[in-house]
């Protein structure tokens, strides 16, 4: 591996950085420009609907992870604990509450505007409900609750889709109309959904590029950047379309030249281990964590975390001809809304399709939605695939739960296990 002194920036990275900066600027100026602000969650979000009302989305989980990457989350978590929040509960929630209590300064250093609407799209995580109940105590604004049923039997039934669509049509949209002061612009919604589908198409091509050897992408550490625009504030917008078009071109070029993924230390040259990873990453020591992989020549070819906002590689695309049903299908289909047997099947398929040498679970203390049941996932995948399974533990944004030496030891042992399996 070569190590460049400066981080290599591709055009897509520059585009993403610019769009994030522009969005936080828009948020900082929201009150002056009269834009209404909607706080909402990443999984199965309703970005197209929010933009159709010309409102500005804010995602508390994104703020939390950005705070962690900027080493600010620790003080926010401790601040929330001072206000009576237990050390046992989700650190995303505590980071957000702590940030709020300390002045609600966003990741770019600008103050975030207060919400005009809390859009509680309650998908795949029970804690979301408590999170927005907590925010409701802090802000004088209405809450739109969108309850998304769980795929307990591994399918989206017509009844589930009708239930979600009905909530959208009869409760969520009318409330958004009231808050924004505008009627829903169906033409605009259509255009946004068409754009989303085009971006989704390109993202799937990027994921599938990892079937190549070497893989031109890291679908976990790099992947979390790739999902940034589509899972946060930008899906449906021209900038997101441009981002995914550019990203796909860059990845196609790397495939053509048989290049590996770009890491913070430059392009990775020696692909020694191909992994599928289950679970979110640790954000407080993200680079250090990633380095433990690329130093060993380990590349992640598929990950479940990058499907937490929504799954596109099973063929789903936003469909402008059936806007409400399509949004309902999107909400219902995100990764943590799948039951355990379906999650195992999904990971098994990824291990096969992406020719992985093994799979690794990063179990997150804070996230019961992901973590409860992962030890059974480990056993089942080992049994079904015969591939080496690894298990490490960390947290999302609380640095107290990231033990670098421990994780590194475990990873090194895990890579040795893969070698041993290879050598029979």
């Amino acid at each position: 591996m070569t190590r460049d002194a400066t981080v290599q920036k591709e055009q897509s990275m520059v585009l993403q950085k610019d769009m994030i900066a522009a969005h936080f600027k828009r948020l900082a100026n929201a009150k002056e420009t009269g834009k209404k602000v909607v706080y909402t969650f990443v999984p199965g979000n309703l970005n197209e609907l929010i933009w159709a009302f010309d409102m500005l989305p804010v995602h508390p989980e994104i703020n939390a992870l950005q705070s962690a990457m900027r080493k600010k989350s620790s003080s926010y978590v401790i601040e929330a604990e001072k206000f009576g929040h237990s050390e046992d509960v989700c650190t995303y929630v505590k980071c957000d509450i702590g940030m709020l209590k300390k002045g609600n300064i966003g990741p770019t250093g600008e103050k975030l505007p207060e919400p005009d609407l809390l859009l509680l799209s309650y998908t795949g995580c029970f804690t979301f409900m408590k999170w927005f109940e907590l925010l409701k105590q802090e802000y004088d604004c209405p809450v739109a609750m969108l309850h998304v049923p769980y795929q307990a039997d591994g399918e989206k039934t017509p009844e589930m889709i009708e239930y979600v669509s009905k909530q959208l049509r009869e409760e969520v949209v009318p409330l958004m109309e009231k808050v924004s002061g505008n009627k829903l612009d169906k033409g605009r919604l259509r255009m946004l959904m068409e754009s989303s589908a085009r971006a989704e198409e390109n993202l799937v091509a990027v994921w599938e590029s990892a079937k190549n050897k070497p893989s031109p992408i890291d679908a976990y550490f790099g992947g979390v950047y790739y999902i940034g625009p589509i899972f946060s504030a930008f899906r449906g917008l021209d900038v997101a379309e441009e981002y995914y078009r550019t990203l796909r071109e860059e990845v196609d070029a790397r495939v053509e030249h048989k290049l590996g993924p770009i890491t913070p230390d430059g392009p990775m040259k020696d692909e020694r281990y191909r992994l599928v990873v289950e679970g979110p990453p640790n954000w407080t020591s993200f680079r250090e964590f990633w380095k433990m992989f690329y130093d060993e020549g380990a590349v992640v070819v598929s990950s479940s975390y990058t499907k937490v906002g929504g799954i596109y590689d099973n063929g789903f695309r936003h469909d402008p001809d059936r806007p409400f049903q399509s949004m309902a299908e999107y909400c219902t289909g995100c990764y943590t809304n799948l039951n355990l047997p379906t999650r195992i099947q999904y990971l098994q398929q990824a291990i096969d399709d992406y020719h992985a040498d093994g799979f690794l679970i990063n179990s997150i203390k804070s996230c019961n939605s992901f973590s409860a049941g992962q030890l059974l996932i480990l056993r089942e995948l080992e049994k079904r695939t015969g591939k080496a399974g690894g298990f490490i533990e960390s947290d999302l944004v609380d640095p107290r739960y990231f033990s670098a030496a421990n994780i590194k030891n475990r990873l090194e042992s895990y890579f040795q296990m893969i070698d041993a399996k290879r050598n029979g």
């Binding site: 408590k130 105590q137 309850h147």
Partner: protein, 386 residues
């Protein structure tokens, strides 16, 4: 029966992790039994299908967890470990199915684990709506109930029509009334109904056939009136946060012995989840759905839409003349622990004292908690505040 005999009967049911009563009931009736996890399921439908609903609330502090721990990381609560232990050691073999109500991510994911680990059993995740509009959430929930009814009809090979459902609703309404009377007597005269006894009676509702349980509660109410029990200088408290994983019996005793009369609680909440009678009529499925949508009690896993957060607790404090609130939450219980700061804020605003601790169903040491709640009690007695 005397009070002591009733309590002994309940203790026996409580500690029998092999579910002998269920096995005997099945043998005698040649019917099936369906288990359910906390907090609430519509037991009327199971009953109408001729089956025995059986509440599973973990294994308390009496079962050593060996295999269950292998399925969970250290930061997951205890109830799923002991439930898996019960399953893997064959203690739940007499159950023909298990229902997993939508209360948190851990129980939700356990439903999928159960599908894989006990593939020959019926497993249903009960997805309770968080939308409380009758024409939206009510419709969805009625379909969920209809699905449950259809599944049980297939399993039990017995029709479950309007008459069967209404008959079961009547029996469960009678049970709810008996339990309401029990709770009312305890809050009126807590020295006559120690919480230890009330709790065991409530746990018996998980196992016994509903009418048998109703009779037992009525018998207790009658017997306890004849006993002379001395009133102590205890404070009146409400215990909250215990809707899923249960405290060990020793911990309940420790709370009572620390100078607290518990006048309300939320353990075994499923038995009194709907705060009024379910209507008997032409559409019992719809009546059950309406009961849940319109008259379900406030608890952490139920979204509060319009009502002020903590209002239910404040009202209970006032109605029952409680002097303080004890937050007893299972370790790593997201719903209870995330709810707690909001409820505490509501209590603080109204100058109602509270104290908080965490427990596990297998906690073995109560001394620290007893000292904490004892101090809480003393401070209220002395100064009227904690």
């Amino acid at each position: 029966m005397k009070v002591s005999e009733i309590v002994a009967r309940c203790e026996e049911l409580y500690s029998d992790l092999h579910l002998s009563y269920v096995k005997e009931w099945k043998r005698r009736n040649k019917r099936k039994a369906i288990g359910y996890m906390p907090i609430y399921v519509p037991r009327q439908i199971i009953h109408a299908a001729g089956m025995l609903p059986v509440g599973i609330m973990g294994a308390g502090d009496t079962l050593e967890i060996i295999r269950g721990d292998a399925y969970y990381q250290s930061y997951i609560c205890h109830i799923p470990r002991s439930t898996i232990e019960l399953g893997l050691t064959g203690r739940l073999d007499c159950l023909d199915g298990l229902l997993f109500p939508a209360i948190c991510d851990v129980i939700r994911n356990l439903s999928g684990m159960w599908q894989l680990m006990f593939a020959d059993k019926y497993v249903k995740y009960m997805d309770f709506p968080q939308n409380f509009n009758e024409s939206i959430g009510g419709e969805f929930y009625a379909r969920e109930l209809e699905q449950l009814r259809e599944d049980l009809v297939k399993m039990g090979n017995k029709p479950v029509g309007v008459d069967e459902l209404n008959e079961s609703i009547i029996r469960y309404n009678a049970n709810a009334k008996a339990i309401k009377d029990l709770y009312a007597l305890r809050s009126d005269a807590p020295h006559r109904v120690p919480t230890y006894e009330l709790y065991l009676l409530m746990r018996a509702s998980n196992i016994l056939e509903v009418s048998e349980h109703t009779s037992l509660v009525e018998e207790y109410l009658s017997a306890v009136g004849k006993e002379d029990r001395q009133e102590l200088d205890n404070i009146r408290v409400i215990v909250t946060g215990v809707f899923c994983e249960q405290p060990p019996l020793g911990l309940i005793r420790a709370l009572e012995h620390s100078g607290c009369y518990i006048v309300d609680d939320d353990w075994v909440l499923g038995a009194r989840f709907i705060d009024r009678d379910i209507e008997v009529g032409d559409d019992p499925i719809r009546a059950l759905a309406t009961g849940y949508i319109k008259h379900g009690v406030a608890t952490s896993s139920r979204y509060i839409d319009q009502e002020e957060k903590g209002r239910h607790l404040l009202d209970r404090v006032e109605e029952l003349s409680a002097e303080g609130v004890i937050f007893a939450s299972p370790s790593f219980c997201d719903p209870a622990l995330l709810e707690r700061p909001m409820l505490q804020a509501a209590l603080s605003k109204s100058n109602i004292p509270y104290t908080s601790f965490k427990f596990g169903e297998n906690s073995g040491q109560y001394q620290v908690i007893k000292e904490q709640t004892g101090t809480f009690s003393d401070s209220i007695k002395l100064w009227g505040t904690a």
